[in-house]
Amino acid sequence: MGVWGLKAPAGSRGRAPGQRTRVLGAGPVASALYVAPAFVLFAAFILFPILSNIGASLVGAHGRPGFANYAVAAQDPVFWTALENSLIWVAVSLILEIAAGFALAVLIELYLARGRAIFRTLLFLPMVITPSVIALVFTTLYAPDYGLLFGLFNWLGLADSFPALLGTPSTATLAIIVVNVWQWSGFFVLMYCVGIAAIDRALLDAAEIDGARGLGRIRHIIWPLCRGTTVSLVVLGTIQALQQFPLIYLMTEGGPANASQTLATYIFQTGFSENEMPYASAIAVVLFVLALVLVAVEYGLAGARFAPSSRESRDAV
């Protein structure tokens, strides 16, 4: 299964796996030339950075090799805050994006007679707006005294209890995550629409004849059949949440008092603002390993949980 789970337009048969094409006049040299551009870019900007990061992170004080940077991180409360916030980013973003994406896609694909394309497009629109622009718009929207949200509180007579969302340590991270979810949900909707549209109509009709309709049909037929889409989106959403930078940097700069710092913003702060490159490299390695662990766990869970159990298929009947 491709990570993205997408496949090319049907209508033509691909060849059986393993069957080799006759020689096209592309010898080993020509073959290498086709691979070369991607290989050079990949080696320079993906492979080399990973290895270089690991190397740089192992240079301690006075240039001695060792794990000093990791020891410093273990003692650094801001590092632990950043790690915790990164995990909160992944969990909250994913839950909200998957829920909103799947629910809205079901409404569009199964309950609308007309206007599907319009809703898909309008819901997707936040996805194409430059994140640095979004950051400033939402900073104003959240602003005490003149923001739109304050206006709403004021209108409801709650002006005195308006929370400074970005200025309060306990709410800053969640307030920014909401913006991220607002931007990305439309993408999840679109991908679920693609997934639902690809379900064989005959299967849905058969389920209906067997009496599965309404919520039962969604839960026992549609949701399991979108499993591939869900797995792809969970992996993609994890990486996206871990690498979010402009929203946090422009809305709180990791503050107040480092309360909304994530691993991504802390790498920037230590590496570029404080010029502690080896320490920042160690945090980058932690982020890299964290991404791999989370994706491995997600694939593990998907294998265990998404397989429709016999009980579920019985319920559907």
């Binding site: 691979v35 991607a38 993906i46 629109l125 194409v128 390695v285």
Partner: protein, 274 residues
């Protein structure tokens, strides 16, 4: 059926609410850009006296043009380089069936699992050594490298779906592999190419993090860095700042509005496998 009808109506209401929530911040942004300085701090969605004066003032001051030009060059270059590299790689894997193709594909796909922040420092250091900071190539290269995995997934699948007969006919005519790729394969995967180009363009156009650390000279900065540049000077005059934000946001919106039919069509035609 009565309940069916009610469900449809409820679905429409819920979708309209979600759409309103998804559009509201953009409407708010445009409205602030239409306010004069006496109203710009009003906590309302629509201020009473809209004016285009902020746009006139901002465009007269100039300066945005340079950001725009930089964005156009970087994004176009990134789309072109990604397409060339991914088309060639996909062709080698899907049609030439080169040895080790599966391993190469897996290696490329694993790059989808890397958060950009974890690559940022070494990329910056490398570009410094190559004297590529503050150059267009310094952004185009990393953007293309980051875009190749997704592009290769899409293009490889599209190429594999092309029937062998077409290729055989061309080969009998004595066409070389390059002629085959350029004349036969590439035109056949047009919808997949549009999906890749739109995605890569939007990614390159909006990317902030790499641009922030690689383009340190004002003359080289792309549009996503412009808000940072104008935030200070227009602190007390949000109308003008929001006019700039609207001008920045409107470009990818128009781009997507024009191409979304083919983008969504390409995704829909692709379907999803389990």
């Amino acid at each position: 059926m009565r309940s069916e009808h009610g469900a449809r109506r409820l679905a429409l209401v819920l979708l309209l609410a979600a759409t309103a929530a998804s559009l509201l911040p953009s409407v708010y942004m445009v409205d602030i850009s239409l306010r004069d300085s006496t109203e710009s701090f009003a906590p309302v969605l629509f201020a009473p006296h809209p004016t285009l004066a902020n746009y006139a003032a901002v465009l007269a001051t100039g300066g945005l043009g340079r950001f725009f030009l930089n964005s156009v060059i970087v994004s176009t270059g990134s789309v072109a380089l990604t397409l060339v590299a991914a088309i060639c790689l996909s062709f080698a894997i899907a049609r030439l069936k080169i040895r080790g193709g599966r391993v190469i594909l897996l290696a490329v796909l694993s790059a989808l699992l890397l958060p950009l922040a974890s690559l940022l420092i070494p990329i910056t250091v490398l570009l410094k050594h190559l004297a590529l900071t503050n150059t267009y190539l310094g952004l185009i290269g990393p953007f293309a490298a980051l875009g190749i995995p997704f592009a290769t997934v899409i293009l490889k699948e599209a190429m594999e779906a092309i029937p062998d007969e077409l290729e055989e006919a061309a080969t009998i005519d004595g066409a070389s592999s390059l002629t085959l790729l350029v004349r036969i394969i590439t035109p056949l995967i047009r919808s997949a190419l549009i999906v890749v180009a739109v995605w890569q363009f939007l990614f390159s156009w909006n990317e902030f993090f790499l641009a922030l650390v690689i383009m340190t000279q004002d003359a080289m900065k792309p549009l996503p860095l412009a808000p940072l540049y104008y935030e200070g000077p227009y602190m007390t005059d949000p109308g003008k700042l929001f006019a700039i934000l609207t001008l920045i946001a409107i470009i990818p919106m128009i781009f997507y509005a024009v191409l979304q039919r083919w983008f969504v069509g390409g995704l829909m035609a692709g379907g999803v496998k389990g």
